[in-house]
């Protein structure tokens, strides 16, 4: 009798603790997503991200399986050698940054030339991070270009913040992800290039990932090109 009661209480306490942690975790997605150090034997989405990036750049030829094995090790070492880093096969902060997937430092490498840009500029960098992290650099600039193209089209709001905060326009805004992560270094450069007028999409107003479910209406738009995982259309 005593033992059962004790077990019951212990189970209840564990359940309560687990519930509280689960709720906090759901409310703060950032808790699970700061950059880990990766080495032979780790596995996860961030490993898949590294594999995908290195595959894009011609270093990695294995399967994108999210498991850090021999092929990944060789690819990482090769990349580190080419980038002038210590070729130890361990993806630490320096390697993450060389991949363009690291976290922005206090002083960003790209300096915005005009004060009047700075709010829009950082907002755009956040949205690019939220929508196109892990995409090729051209794809990141393309997301920024879509935002700018919208400000010039009569069917959309006139300002960059208006376009970004339009309800349900961008998934990373709707689910709060743009505030959870700081902008990545490559997103900061991409936002700058987009604001300087670079438009790899030649006027696109919409973009989406064809592998996920989107409204059927958007497929009736004229498709311009596909960069990485995103299709761009007007």
């Amino acid at each position: 009798m005593k033992r059962r009661k004790r077990m019951g209480a212990a189970i209840l306490a564990t359940a309560v603790a687990g519930f509280i942690i689960a709720v906090l975790w759901v409310q703060h997605p950032a808790l699970g997503q700061s950059r880990r150090t990766l080495y032979w034997g780790t596995s996860g989405d961030d490993v898949a991200l590294v594999q995908r990036t290195l595959a894009d750049w011609g270093y990695y030829f294995g399967a994108i399986d999210g498991t850090y094995g021999y092929k990944t090790f060789v690819a990482v070492r090769s990349f580190q050698r080419d980038s002038g880093l210590r070729a130890d096969g361990i993806v630490g902060r320096a390697t993450w940054e060389a991949l363009g997937l690291g976290v922005v430092q206090a002083a960003p490498a790209w300096q915005a030339p005009a004060v009047s840009w700075s709010d829009d500029f950082w907002l755009m960098a956040r949205v690019i991070t939220g929508e196109a992290m892990g995409e090729p650099y051209t794809g990141q600039v393309a997301v920024g270009a879509v935002i700018l193209n919208r400000t010039r089209h009569p069917s959309f709001p006139r300002t960059i913040s208006g376009v970004i905060f339009e309800p349900w326009a961008f998934e990373s805004v709707t689910n709060g992800l743009i505030w959870a992560r700081p902008p990545t270094d490559s997103a900061v450069r991409a936002a700058g290039d987009a604001l300087n007028g670079w438009d790899p999409t030649y006027g696109a107003l919409y973009f989406w990932n064809p592998a996920t479910a989107v409204s059927p209406w958007v497929w009736s738009r004229q498709i311009i090109t596909q960069i990485g995982k995103h299709v761009f259309a007007r």
């Binding site: 005593k2 009661k5 004790r6 209480a9 212990a10 209840l12 306490a13 309560v16 519930f19 509280i20 894009d56 750049w57 011609g58 990349f79 080419d82 980038s83 490498a109 790209w110 300096q111 030339p113 005009a114 009047s116 090729p136 650099y137 051209t138 010039r152 009569p154 069917s155 959309f156 709001p157 006139r158 208006g162 339009e166 309800p167 349900w168 998934e171 709707t174 689910n175 700058g192 290039d193 300087n196 007028g197 670079w198 438009d199 790899p200 999409t201 030649y202 006027g203 696109a204 996920t212 479910a213 409204s215 059927p216 209406w217 004229q222 498709i223 311009i224 090109t225 960069i227 007007r234």
Partner: protein, 456 residues
């Protein structure tokens, strides 16, 4: 004894959890109420603005005073902007209102252009009057639709937060699977009026006028692409030559926008960053280029960079370009070149060249503007002399230079103007005086920042 402590712990834990839960629920209710208040405010403001626009349009149609017209049209423009902004705040997920927003944008901008023309002494023509009357009728219908929607919402106890999906995952589904509450069904019904109004607005004839939202701008085709169509292999060769390093990787990506291109990606063994070169399908022109390699410490100066850029352009089919503004970005220099026809600077024919300051290599190019607009133009002869243009600017300015130029407008129309470079104190301005009418067309301010001159 131990069970008592554990039991106590469990009870305390449950109480804490309960209190926390109640607190969270209270916070959620307050947040939802604040959001609902925001949406209601946007909706009511939208109704109010559209009503006012409708009345102002009626007044503008019957007013006999030009000055009064100008103030009415300007107020219409302001209210149309606000209405369009309100509409874009509303959480309408499954309802597509882009035609309504386009209508408000075009209406507002049209009124603004008309007010400007009036201010220059051009009275409202018959065609403009007819257009305004059409706008007035459409706005009246839109206004009555909004009233009907609001009435049906009031009757059914509609709340905007009912339209918004509660769970983040629900946003992905295109059709709701869970049974809807009465409020949600009523809400969907109330918004049908919105959808019907938008459908009607989609069927309006194209509006062509002198402004950035004119429908004719959607149909623009690039004018500067000369030559025969090229195939993938040739495009790849052109791209490889232009890039200066690397080999093509994979097949070129097709882009099918206004300027169809082959987008070639190149890589070399020494540098992991790719180079992307877009080659136009017609004529094989290099339209865009970007080399994302990291740039080392600067070793060459602005003058040398400009020379390298000009040499590259001349070697790649773009001679005769004049450098204008420069900006320093991240150890690179971005120089804007424009085409010079005889003694006139043709601003719409613009190419931006990015030069890496560590070795002088051209790492970036943006010639979209050039290939969209360039052609040998039949330029009119200026009716003013440069001295007359100089005399037209504000007396307080010190004029440095006068240069004849062709400037673009927001509606893609081109105006021949004298670019008068003048200073007031320490600020430099570019004032554009129409070379045919002597009107001041535009003023640009040159802002000196540590990263180069910014034109605002």
């Amino acid at each position: 004894m131990r069970e008592k402590w554990l039991a106590l712990l469990a009870v305390v834990g449950a109480l804490v959890l309960g209190a926390w839960g109640l607190g969270q629920r209270g916070m959620a209710t307050r947040t939802q109420a604040a959001m609902e208040a925001g949406y209601q405010r946007d909706f009511f403001d939208l109704i109010n603005q559209v009503e006012q626009i409708q009345v102002l349009l009626s007044k503008a149609l019957v007013s006999g005073s030009e000055r009064h017209n100008i103030s009415q049209l300007t107020e219409i423009w302001m209210r149309a902007n606000t209405a369009q902004s309100d509409l874009s705040h509303l959480p309408l997920k499954d309802v597509n209102l882009s035609a309504s927003r386009k209508f408000l944008s075009q209406l507002g901008d049209y009124a603004y252009r008309l007010a400007q023309a009036n201010a220059r002494g051009n009275p409202i023509s018959d065609k403009d009057w007819d257009r305004l009357q059409t706008f007035q009728r459409q706005t009246a219908r839109f206004s009555s639709t909004l009233h009907a929607v609001q009435l049906s919402m009031a009757r059914s106890g509609f709340r905007w937060s009912d339209v918004a999906p509660r769970r983040p995952g629900a946003a992905k589904k295109t059709a709701p699977r869970a049974p809807r509450t009465a409020a949600q069904t009523a809400g969907a019904g109330a918004l049908d009026g919105f959808t019907a109004a938008d459908k009607r607005l989609q069927q309006l004839p194209a509006l062509i006028y002198d402004g950035p939202f004119s429908d004719h701008l959607e149909k623009r085709r690039p004018l500067g692409l000369t030559g025969e169509p090229v195939d993938e292999a040739r495009a790849t060769r052109i791209a490889t030559d232009a890039a200066g390093r690397g080999q093509s990787v994979g097949r070129p990506r097709l882009t099918q926008g206004r300027l169809p291109t082959f987008s070639v990606t190149l890589r070399d063994g020494r540098n992991p960053a790719p180079i992307v070169v877009d080659v136009s399908r017609q004529g094989g022109h290099i339209v865009q280029m970007n080399d994302a390699r990291p740039i080392g410490t600067p070793r060459i100066g602005s003058d040398e960079a400009r020379k390298r850029a000009a040499d590259w352009l001349a070697a790649h089919g773009l001679p005769g370009m004049t450098p204008t503004f420069t900006a320093r970005v991240n150890n690179s220099e971005v120089i804007t070149f424009v085409y010079r026809q005889m003694d006139t600077l043709i601003y719409p024919d613009q190419v931006k060249v990015k030069v890496a300051l560590d070795n002088g290599q051209v790492t970036g190019l943006d010639a979209v503007s050039y290939f969209t607009n360039h052609r040998e133009r039949d330029l009119p002869r200026p009716r003013l002399t440069p001295e007359e243009a100089r005399a037209k600017v504000n007396r307080r300015l010190r004029v440095d230079n006068v240069q004849l130029s062709l400037i673009p407008t927001e509606s893609a129309k081109e105006i021949l103007a004298y670019e008068v470079r003048a200073r007031l104190g320490r600020d430099t301005y570019l004032i554009y005086i129409n070379a045919l009418t002597g009107e001041e067309e535009n003023i640009l301010k040159l802002v000196d920042t540590p990263n180069g001159k910014l034109v605002m």
